[in-house]
Structure formats: C-alpha cells, structure tokens
C-alpha cells in the first residue's frame, strides 16, 4: 500500500470526517459512531462478500461527490457503497431512510417467530435491538408465519431455520473459514433455507463460529442450549494456549462455572481482531470443550456497553447507577400487578429472594441452589 493514501471527505448527518478512499459509507459512519452508524444485520466486516442483502443500512446520498454533486436516485446500501470525495449522506436525518428502514424491520419480523422468551439469543440479538430502535409497535401481518423443522448440524450446533433472516453470514463463514463447501442456501424466496447439503453434518475445527456470526437465534450452541439467559452471566475475557486458534475468548460465567465460550466481540457485535490484526475466530475445542475455569487464564471482566441488556443484571445499585424508585403499585395508583403466573414459581433460574443486583461479585449458581438442598 502506498504511504500517502488518498483521503476522502464525507459528511454523514452533517458530521464531516476524512476516511481513506475505498471506505464504505457504513464504515465511515461507524467511525463517527453513535446513532449515525446505520444498523447492519447481514454485513460483517470480517467476511468477504457479505452485506447488501438485509437493506437495514440503506442511506440517502444527497450529494454524490464534489465532482458529480448529483444525488443518487435511490437509497443505497451503505455497507456496499464506497465514499467519494465530498459525498454527503443522510442517515437518521432523512425521513426517507427512516421510513424505508421501518419497512425493512417490519419485513424482517414478518416471518420471525418472536419466541424471544425461549430463545438463547435473547439479550444479544441484533434483530431485537433493531426492532427496539427502528421498528414500529405491533404488526400488520395477519397470516401464519412460515416454519421449518429444527435441524442438528453436527454435535454442537442447532439450526432453527424458523428464526433465520437469511443474512448469509454463516454461509460466508463456512465458505471462508473452512475448506469444504458444504453449507449453503436451498430453494428461493421466502421458502429459501440454510442447509448443509442433504443434512450432512458440518464437521470442521472452526465451524462453531457460525454461531457467533448469526445475528439472531437461528444457529445456537447446543452445549449452552437453555442453560441460562445471557444477562445472568458475566462475560470475562480469558485465553489459553491453543494449537488451533488464537485461544482468545470471552467466557460467560456464573461464579466459577463456565456456561459458554464465545469469540470476543466488538461494539458492532463482530469478532474482534487478535493483536496480529487477524479476525479472532475461535476453534471448536475452545468453544465447546473447555468449560472449566481451570482450562483458562482469566484476564478480567469484559467491558460491555452499559446500555446493553447484559449489563442490566449486574451493576444497578452497585456501580453508581440507581435502582428504580418507582414501584408498580406507585405507578398504578396502588394496584398490584395482575400476573397470570409468577415466573419465579416455575423458573429454575430465577428465585424471588435473590436480588441479582445486590449480590457482591459475580452471581454464583450456589446462591440459587442454596434453598434447594
């Protein structure tokens, strides 16, 4: 690469920055950060060829470039459009974009089962976040949703196609991280499905990464299935000397128990780079088989965005954030909530007497099991 890389000036939502030529609008917006960065469900910077499909990152280009100031006639996928010098882009400042995005969210949710209460992805699901931020309340869809049978692909991974939004990230992952091409999309349109060709299992040292790239709960870790909710777990960075991969992972713990192992993810939900600049994909052994704290060298707690659901169970009342003062009764003129059932009476995980937010240190399974023995 040449030393003096050309810099292009681009203005997104009235904020101007300079980025190297060849940068996409999305990546330029991510440099600015915050609300300016369009949401992306299918784009994954570490996967070549990804993006362009989900259409959530559509933006309006109100000025093409300094040389050719004409606006682009249609909204463009910011993840696949490179910036030009002097380009002006509208994301959240464009009515058109917000309208189209709300449409896309509605389309994505059309056939999505909304089984979040039993979905392992809940709490770290990009579709949940997207719906909260850009969706509308309620649905106008009055028909039966499409469903598929669940498939086990290999001993560790379950494919729940009903939840899939066909982002193709796993297809690119399987294609690019592994040697054989055995995983793809069959059929087309709204009946298209991700499949391993004729139910062949995916057996490969790195295939577990498809779980990490899946933006929804379509590909889940069978060793973690229904074990816990992610927001009850504490993410801890750890590493081990692994002959296959970098061995740099995040452990999701409860006390000393390792519930699951994932790659380390950055603020966009993508796998973080290792110090040598390569994506930190992890191998199946690290992910599925090293489930003891003694397997790992603990580095310390992983920093999680304070607004993330995952932070919610841990820090309120402890690290300066305030416990809510209003109670349900206070808000509802003294009426008590009418519950169909008390979730605590059936849940194995939650105990009413345990106030997660008031426990010192990580919540530990012993705390929950105390009363049972």
């Amino acid at each position: 690469m040449s030393d003096q890389q050309q810099l292009f000036k681009v203005t997104i939502d009235n904020i101007t920055i300079e980025v190297p030529a060849g940068t996409t609008i999305l990546n330029a917006a991510r440099k600015i950060g915050g609300d300016v960065a369009p949401p992306a469900m299918c784009y994954y910077s570490k996967l070549e060829g990804s993006g362009g499909k989900c259409r959530t990152c559509l933006v309006e280009v109100s000025k093409g470039s300094e040389k050719d100031p004409r606006p682009m006639p249609k909204l463009v996928a910011s993840c696949r459009t490179t910036v030009m010098d002097g380009m002006e882009v509208k994301n959240i400042t464009s009515e058109k974009v917000l309208d189209a995005r709300a449409g896309v969210v509605e389309f994505l949710l059309l056939n999505h089962p909304l089984d979040c209460p039993i979905c392992d992805q809940a709490g770290e699901c990009h579709l949940q976040d997207l719906s909260y931020e850009h969706g509308k309340e309620g649905t106008r869809y009055e028909f039966q949703r499409r469903t598929f049978k669940k498939h086990d692909i290999g001993p560790y991974i379950q494919l729940h196609m009903t939840r899939c939004i066909l982002c193709y990230r796993c297809v690119f992952t399987a294609d690019q991280l592994t040697k054989k091409r055995e995983h793809g999309v069959l059929d087309r349109g709204d009946h298209a499905e991700i499949a391993t060709f004729i139910e062949k299992s995916l057996e490969n040292d790195f295939i577990g990464n498809v779980i990490d790239v899946c933006p929804v709960g379509a590909l889940t870790d069978k060793t973690f299935r229904f074990k816990n909710r992610v927001w009850f777990l504490k993410p801890v960075d750890a590493h081990r000397d692994c002959p296959t991969c970098s061995g740099r992972v995040t452990l999701w713990n409860r006390g000393d128990e390792v519930f699951r192992v994932t790659a380390r993810k950055d603020e966009w939900g993508e796998v973080e780079d290792t110090p040598d600049g390569k994506p930190g994909w992890i191998c199946n052994t690290c992910r599925f088989e090293k489930k003891k704290t003694s397997d790992w060298v603990i580095e310390g707690p992983r920093l999680i965005n304070r607004h993330s659901v995952i932070s919610q169970g841990h820090y309120a009342g402890k690290v300066g954030t305030q416990m809510p003062t209003e109670t349900f009764e206070a808000v509802n003129d003294g009426r008590k909530p009418k519950l169909l059932m008390d979730i605590h009476s059936v849940s194995e995980v939650n105990k009413p007497e345990v106030q997660l937010s008031l426990i010192d240190g990580p919540a530990h399974s012993k705390v929950f099991n105390q009363n049972n023995d």
């Binding site: 993006g51 362009g52 499909k53 989900c54 259409r55 959530t56 559509l58 249609k74 909204l75 996928a77 696949r80 309208d99 189209a100 449409g103 896309v104 509605e106 389309f107 994505l108 059309l110 056939n111 106008r140 869809y141 028909f143 939004i165 066909l166 193709y168 793809g184 999309v185 059929d187 087309r188 349109g189 709204d190 009946h191 298209a192």
Partner: protein, 451 residues
C-alpha cells in the same frame, strides 16, 4: 405493411438450416464486419443505429458496448440472455426456434466487436428443444468456417457455448445469470461493480438480449444511419412484440415503432381485435413487470394524444398514467377479466421467483400474495388495499435487483387504476365469487386525474 428486419425470412422453408439461410443472404454481415470493419467501427455503427436493449430496460446497446473495460491480457465475454421467463414474453423463443442462424450471425459480429472469443448463450431450461436447434446451428456455422479458429481468415477466433438454466426467472437478471453461468446459485450481485468491469469469472462482460443481438445483423448490413431512420425518436428499428390474452390472433409480431396501440390491437395485420365482440378492459403492454393500463389510458395518453407502440409513447405520463415498453410482452384483458385475480396471479409469480436475498422482496412478495388472495376470495378488508399500497411502496427501490420493483409495479398500477374494483371485491365478498366487476368505466374516454 410494416417493415421487417428480423422475421422477414423466418418462414422460408428450411431457413433453420445453414444452406437455406446462407442462400437467402445469411452471414453477409459477418463477411462485411470481419473483412471490412474494425471492432471499433462496429460499435460505432451500433451506436449510430440508436438500438436499445430489447431485454426490458431499453438501455442503448452501443453505449453499453463502449463501457466494456479492456484490461490488458484479460479475456472478455459476450453473453446472450435467452432466459426469457417473463410472463407474457415469448419473442426470443420464436426467433431462436424459427431462424436460429440470425442469432448466431449477430453473435459472431457482436463477439468480434467486443473481442469475445468465448461467447455464451444462457437459455432458460424449459426451452430444451431450442438448445438442440441452437447447437445444430452452431455446428453448421462452425463447419462452414463462420465459427472456430481464424474465422474467414480474419485471425479472429470465436466459439459459442450454449448453457441451460434450471428454471428460474431471476436468472434472467444479468448478474444472477452470470452467477448461474459460473455454476453458482443464481443470486443477483450487488452493483457496482457492473458486468462491463467484472462479469463472468470477474472478466469484463456484456450481457444482451437475444433480440438485441439479432438486430446487429441488419444494422451492419444496412448501416447504422439507415437503421436509425426506421421508427421514431429514440425508438429506432423494429421491435418484436409477443401478443397474448384476449385477442383473435395471438403470436409474435415484428413492428416498426410508428404504429398506434389501437392499430396493433384491432388491425387484422396484428392482433385482429378482441374475440366475441368483447370490449377492451386493460392491457399490460410490456411483459408482466410493467404497469397495467386501463383501456382509456392505453389508447390515449393523459393528455389525450394517441399512444404509439414505442418506448417514449408507452412511457408517456410516467407511472401515474403511462407504462413501459419493457420486454415486449403484450397482454390484453377483455371486459370479462378480473384485475384482482390477474394481479394475484402475478404476485404469486413474483413471490415464487424472488431469490430471497433481500428482505423487502423476500418477505414483501409473499405478504402481497396473501393479502391479494384474501381479497380475491372474499376475505379482504378495506384497509388491505392501503396496506398493499404501503407494502409495494416499501419494496420498490429498496432492493438489490429490479425484481423487487417488478413485483411492486403491477400491484401499484392495479390499485392506482382499478381501486374501485378492489373495493367492490371487499364490499361484495359473495357476489365477487360469482361474477366479475366487468368493464366499469375503464374504457370511457374520461380524463383520469394524475396521481
């Protein structure tokens, strides 16, 4: 009597075979092009001719050719799009079936102009018998020195390969076609890069429709300027129209683009009017993807001028009161046809053919079909009509490839022009199962407000 350039000889006995085709003056353009012209000169002639792509979008062919990148040492390819799967369009099939050598001849000249030594015909899988016809024509051309190595001693090598598709409409979209040709799943690519820069195997590629490439033959024979004199304005040359629906004489017609829509439907030379003395209700003038028009707007523009069978006139009024030339599939509906049912059947088609890559098209096409089904079968609600409008609006322009638009436009146009028929279906759920709404005012010479 209108001028014929492509199908003039299509019914000469034995024209399918090389000897007869050659005797009738075939392959003259190859001799002229390879012996007397440079590739640049051919591109120049095609530019002068004003020939517009016949595959649907109407993009000027000469201009497309001049965009092809020419990096040193990288082969270039010409691909002939014979995937013709749009409901109502069957003109390419006619041409390939009856006069296959015309296409081969056009391909040789075009390959020479573009520097393509390996040229591909991507043909829809269902046209199985035409594959044999084409293969035979290619073999004959090769045996007679018009294909293969050093054609006519010019030093130019060219081979034509026929590749069958597996039955997907989306593989007619040029980048999906390229993926499919490469042996992959036929998902449209995200543009840019355009095929002219990175096409088949990342090499510069031009994709053209069968009819476009066949039209290169008369252009070279008569000269671009002469060709441009036929037709009007930017609609030069002749156009194949496949007419179907409620007409007396369905079939493929070659027209010069100066005749009016009325003449095309009612004259005996073309469609021969509507059977059983029925009245014209509506028409889709350019294949299933283009907006449907009610009779009054079809025959006359919103300004009250006569509408002609050419690119500009059919598009007059934009989508508010016009339509498009599209791929030349002319579908006529008489007073006994139900627009709701018709729209439903198109929606079903697009739902089935969406490749499923992008969310608006994948989910939206299915949703529209379900709502239309409800309305058609007497379970519709008034709000469904507005909902349909909103769905199509959110698909259009927000997808990777134009199939999303193609799915949105027919629904939009049907609601725009036939909203009362949809409302009648909703308000009369039982009656609508037994009879059709009929002609209503669609043929009345009233001025339809734009909007």
């Amino acid at each position: 009597m209108s001028k014929k350039l492509l199908l003039e000889k299509a019914h000469v006995e034995g024209i399918r075979y090389f000897d007869v085709y050659r005797r009738e003056g075939g392959y003259r353009s190859v001799e002229k092009a390879l012996k007397e012209m440079s590739p640049e000169a051919i591109v120049e002639e095609v530019k002068k001719s004003g020939l517009r792509g016949r595959g649907g979008a109407g993009f000027p062919a000469g201009m497309k050719w001049s965009f092809i990148a020419k990096p040193e040492g990288v082969p270039r390819h010409l691909v002939c799009n014979a995937d013709e799967s749009e409901p109502g369009t069957f003109k390419d099939r006619y041409l390939m079936e009856f006069i296959p050598h015309l296409l081969i001849e056009g391909l040789i000249v075009s390959s020479f102009a573009l520097g393509s030594n390996d040229t591909y015909i991507y043909i829809r899988g269902e046209y199985a018998w035409i594959v044999d016809i084409l293969e035979q024509a290619i073999t004959e051309a090769k045996n007679n020195g018009f294909l293969g190595k050093n054609i006519l001693g010019s030093g130019f090598d060219c081979n034509i390969h026929v590749q069958r598709g597996a039955g997907a409409y989306i593989c007619g979209e040029e980048t999906a076609l390229i993926e499919s040709l490469e042996g992959k799943r036929g998902n449209p690519r995200i543009k840019p890069p355009f095929p002219a820069v990175k096409g088949v195997w990342d090499r510069p590629t031009v994709v053209n429709n069968v009819e476009t490439l066949a039209a290169v033959v008369p252009i070279i024979n008569m000269g671009g300027d002469e060709y441009a004199k036929i037709g009007v304005g930017r609609s030069t040359g002749t156009k194949l129209i496949s007419a179907c629906g409620n007409i007396n004489k369905p079939g493929v017609y070659e027209i010069d683009m100066t005749i009016s829509v009325e003449e095309f439907i009612y004259s005996d030379e073309y469609c021969g009017g509507i059977p059983n003395g029925k009245k014209l209700k509506a028409c889709i003038p350019g294949g299933s993807s283009v907006p449907i028009l009610p009779a009054n707007l079809l025959l006359k523009t919103a300004k009250g001028e006569t509408r002609y069978m050419n690119y500009e006139s059919l598009a007059d009024g934009g989508f508010a009161s016009g339509s498009m030339m599209g791929s030349g599939g002319f579908i006529v509906l008489d007073e006994d046809q139900c627009v709701v049912r018709h729209t439903l059947s198109l929606a079903r088609f697009y739902r089935h053919e969406s490749c499923g890559q992008c969310s608006p098209c994948r989910e939206g096409t299915g949703w529209m079909e379900k709502i239309l089904k409800n309305i058609e079968y007497g379970n519709g609600k008034m709000s469904d009509i507005d909902l349909l409008w909103d769905i199509q609006r959110k698909i259009e322009g927000n997808t990777i490839c134009p199939l999303g638009d193609a799915a949105a436009w027919p629904v939009a146009a049907a609601i725009r022009h036939f909203r009362d028929e949809f409302e009648w279906h909703v308000l009369n759920p039982e009656e609508s199962q037994k009879r059709n709404y009929g002609l209503a005012h669609y043929a009345d010479p009233i001025h339809v407000p734009v909007g």
